[in-house]
Assembly symmetry: C2
């Protein structure tokens, strides 16, 4: 088993940011600069073509650390960010560029679905290895509650199969913007932990009905769908339940909001 | 124009409750016992077959008065509560009982849709007359922001056509549990104020797709759908945006939650 190797460490606005590797997986850990003993741990996934330190992801991580005292971890998905690209990664990216340039929406969707599923298959064991290693850090340990903090698109494509097989995850935020394939529906049917599902209502790249079918598939007795106008690139989330993760990871009263 | 005639007045748990009539419309006004000068006014609709003082409605009204300092008003819909029933009301109730006893779901739905639309047509001008009269009370006046606080089923069947033609309403909460007819979709298309829409995800009496089509129809740039498992008689609302009305009626910061 690989352990966590910290590389660089910086601090800003009350948040400690530590880059690390677990084997050849590059990751980053954000935590309150004031200390984070056994703080809940939130796994954050990035979108397709993105990486672990996009401005949006960092803003969410900082907010989670400063508002709730969470420790947040993100890793680059296979073929993304600082990771080397395999021939399959390069081929998928080239195909995607070509289909986009040709305005061939159906082809874009089929490539995204197929490639996303392949990336997810590689990413799930990497998240598990990262979790194993992080739990050996004294400031995290095995007692800290763990949530999957989502990210729409690829972050959901990876998060759903991960949450389906990973009993350490006890609450999850997923979202739309991802082409739903049958394996994803099957994985959703195995999920029983509380789920928050964020659906961009007007996503031109993703069939709304398939996203609703995905929400329908979760076996969780507690699941909430939030939909707002906009597509996944251009959406202002309003009125969503910002306490969802804190409530389920034990940082606020557990009475219903 | 009819004015507000107060009949009885009681006070409990910090909330003043005043029964009133406007012409032959019986209503009730809840307000903070500590005073409510120009407080925002929230109109609450009751469900089909219910009345203005169901325990659930009273609980929501007390919460709105004590948490946000709102004044809340509810009136009995035509043929409901303390209102006399016309031959049409009696016939619809008899038909409904018969269809329910026979387990004829389709007939239940068609009666509910037809009768609900007829009740709404009578209820909308009654709400407007009630508003006219309430705005002559010095403690309400014409400056208080007004929201429609919903109630699912009949409360939404009435609230949507009311909000569509009533410019004094500047934010609205609606919900599922109502058989959606074409006139309701048409009315929703004319609504542009912020809307919160509560959808029981597993309502056996109402087609889910028609409720989603209703949400889709609102012309509002700000609209949020919240769905939770359960049907409209048996649902635990979790993670919904409890500050929605307060945000839009000016009682909390207007920054997105």
């Amino acid at each position: 088993m690989h352990s966590v190797r910290f590389t660089t460490e910086t601090s800003s606005n009350g948040v400690l940011e530590r880059d690390f590797t677990v084997g050849d997986i590059p990751g980053v850990l954000w935590s309150p600069a004031s200390g984070s003993e056994q703080a809940p741990l939130v796994l954050m996934g990035h979108g397709g073509g993105q990486h672990k330190k996009t401005p949006a992801l960092m803003a969410r991580a900082h907010d989670a650390a400063t508002t709730w005292g969470f420790t947040v971890v993100a890793i680059d998905a296979p073929g993304h960010g600082d990771r080397p690209r395999t021939a399959e990664d390069e081929q998928a990216r080239a195909d995607l560029r070509q289909a986009m340039a040709a305005g061939d929406t159906e082809h874009v969707e089929s490539i995204t679905a197929r490639y996303g599923a392949a990336v997810a298959q590689r990413a799930v064991p990497e998240w598990q290895a990262t979790l194993d290693a992080l739990q050996h850090l004294p400031e995290i340990g095995t007692e800290a509650p763990i949530g999957y903090g989502g990210g729409i698109t690829l972050g959901t494509g990876i998060g759903i199969p991960l949450t389906a097989i990973e009993p350490r995850i006890t609450a999850a935020i997923f979202g739309g913007g991802f082409v739903v394939h049958e394996a994803l529906i099957e994985a959703a049917r195995r999920i029983t932990v509380p789920v928050q599902f964020l659906l961009p209502w007007d996503d031109e790249h993703v069939d709304r009905q398939s996203a609703l079918a995905l929400f329908d598939a979760f076996a969780s007795t507690e699941k909430t769908l939030h939909a707002n106008p906009g597509d996944h690139r251009n959406i202002r989330w309003v009125g969503i339940d910002n306490e969802f993760m804190a409530r389920h990871l034990g940082r606020v009263s557990t009475s219903p909001a």
